[in-house]
Symmetry: C2
Subunit: 361 residues, 2 copies
């Protein structure tokens, strides 16, 4: 059997000079060049600024232009839907499979600033032209196209010497502050290694030095031997609730093979991994029979440093602690970093395991 065909790519520019890339499902065949952006856009807003928080030695991003960003527009004004007639959106094409473009309201400075690390970039990735679609319900082909886009964009962004870390993630749900309902994720190329990735690197490095083995591989072996927190597993990937989960629902999805990032997986491994991601999200909605808010983010190795330390890992976290009740990060979490989880990890894993899995499509 020949390997499945992979996504096709087309590139264009938006009216204010931002890049847009189309990743086309193999079944969409060969498509014409993307249409031009016919809008008359104002110049880009002033860049974000990085400031050093000396109290904890971390970078903080100040992005005041984001105050004016589009906030819960009605569906007919959705900027992520395709353009139709005089209704011109961020995506000039009249239809698309997956579109990736630079955010007009980026959270990271696009140019080097004195005293701060070099430039970053914030991309938006639209998962579907259908406004009411959701990641967990996309078909297998589309999931593979998205995974290709993540892998390819991560490689392209980390090749920029100013980029230190690439983070592909999705926020879903008005309850956690999402301002656009259209199914989409984001790709941040940070000019620094973000604080939590720094700490994961430090822990994994210490473990590697002490034991000679990968922390994630060792923890995964423990979870598989224990079994109580496994949600689902395939030949090449595993989804489990970590023993010290911080959120009411927290699921980690890993390839069994030790790889630093999405681009290092084979096509078959990547396809299976992203299907397992969709399966977990499908189960999560099933537990509450509702569209549950979540953050799903890929922990990859840094762009250049310590490429052999971190094991690729998707972290899905949801603040939904009960029907109609959310967990908030208040005093202990937000001010002191000490998380309190109201839900026993063994219980959330069991509920996810018992929920219906995603049907293959």
């Amino acid at each position: 059997m020949p390997p499945p065909a992979r996504a096709g790519r087309r590139a264009g520019l938006l009216a204010d000079g931002r890049e847009i890339l189309y990743f086309d499902d193999p079944s969409s065949g060969s498509l014409p060049d993307p249409p031009p952006d016919r809008r008359d856009l104002p110049p880009l807003p002033p860049p974000a600024e990085l400031r050093r928080d000396e109290l904890v030695d971390e970078w903080v991003i100040v992005a005041t232009h984001r105050q004016t960003r589009t906030f819960l527009p009605p569906t007919r004004d959705c900027p992520l839907c395709p353009s139709h007639g005089d209704s011109l959106t961020e995506v000039p094409a009249s239809d698309y499979d997956v579109a990736v473009f630079e955010n007009r309201f980026p959270s990271l400075p696009a140019a080097e600033l004195p005293g701060a690390p070099a430039a970053g970039r914030c991309d938006v990735i639209c998962y579907s032209s259908e406004h009411d679609a959701s990641f967990a319900r996309l078909n297998d082909e589309r999931l593979a196209t998205i995974a290709d886009a993540w892998a390819e964009r991560s490689e392209a962004l980390r090749a920029d010497p100013g980029v230190a870390y690439v983070f592909c993630f999705e926020n879903r749900g008005e309850q956690i502050g999402v301002t656009l309902h259209h199914p989409h994720g984001q790709i941040y190329a940070y000019p620094f290694i973000p604080p939590r990735a720094e700490r994961m690197l430090a822990s994994a490095s210490a473990h590697l030095e002490r034991t000679g083995s990968c922390l994630a591989c060792d923890l995964l072996a423990q979870e598989l031997a224990d079994g109580r927190r496994i949600v689902a597993a395939t030949d090449t990937a595993v989804a489990y609730v970590p023993r010290a989960a911080r959120w009411p629902y927290e699921i980690h999805v890993l390839p069994r093979r030790h790889v630093p990032d999405l681009a290092s997986l084979s096509d078959a491994e990547r396809d299976e991994l992203v299907r397992l991601q969709a399966d977990v999200l499908y189960r999560l909605d099933g537990v509450f029979d509702a569209a549950v808010p979540y953050i799903a983010g890929w922990v990859q190795a840094p762009a250049r440093e310590q490429r052999d330390v971190l094991h690729l890992r998707l972290q899905i976290v949801s603040p939904q602690r009960d029907v109609g009740k959310l967990k908030f990060l208040a005093g202990s979490e937000a001010a002191m970093g000490a998380f309190i989880n109201d839900v026993l990890p063994e219980d959330s894993a069991r509920r996810l395991r018992e929920a219906a899995g995603r049907p293959r499509t």
Copy 2:
């Protein structure tokens, strides 16, 4: 002039064996022994559990009994109001000034567990018997009684060899998950130094070693010299927005004198500091002409270790980024620890400075 009289103290026990302490305003005079708790309470829930998150080397607290905690009860069922007739609450007295008692739904394990650090404790501190009061509008005398209670309880809790760090804080606002509206705060005695305090210790230690001086003292001097982010200042205390504020509204309130904790201040210094806290919170409500949600927490030195490194600091943070708009911690913040602030710190400081200050009462 004689020094102002300080709060009187009375102690009792609740029906399930938890401690309750009353701190009485000096003007309340000498009060009778507190009444007994006439309720028939079920035994205390099973203790919380500490689990180690090896991925970032931090403790996480699993407290599943908290799922059943009281959730936004109607005012007539408020467990923090005084007891009246057959309406029996957590506070047996028919009136009180400030009451401190152990939380029936604690977030920290009350007994030592194998493989985890020793016991912690979670206290509730009620600021007023009036259900609709707010911290910023309490009178000077009551603020001093609260500050005395914080200082005294912090000293008592850190004397326990199992306690590593005492954190006094208030969460206000349903928007950030507060489940009881009655004005109250919390005092957590952690059996470990919480992650954010650890990082503040590391930064301040490194600065001390490098320069021989206190990081907080040096940053305070810079802020005073710059002036743009100062909100209010007195002879002994200063309130300012840090240059790298993470939240739309973030204000730090510090004594000018380098002290490790609330108990190390003179009574006059402590009274002035807590009045400045109330002044800042009063201004914060004034900016939006609304009861703005906030987290206000005291960074103190650890119970025993490195007592000379950290400078006492109140951190007030609010997610209110605009009228009707909150900042949420989503992908970049929650998953990667990289904060994006939509509000320029110089702007929030100016708005707070221009808002009306708290009238002395």
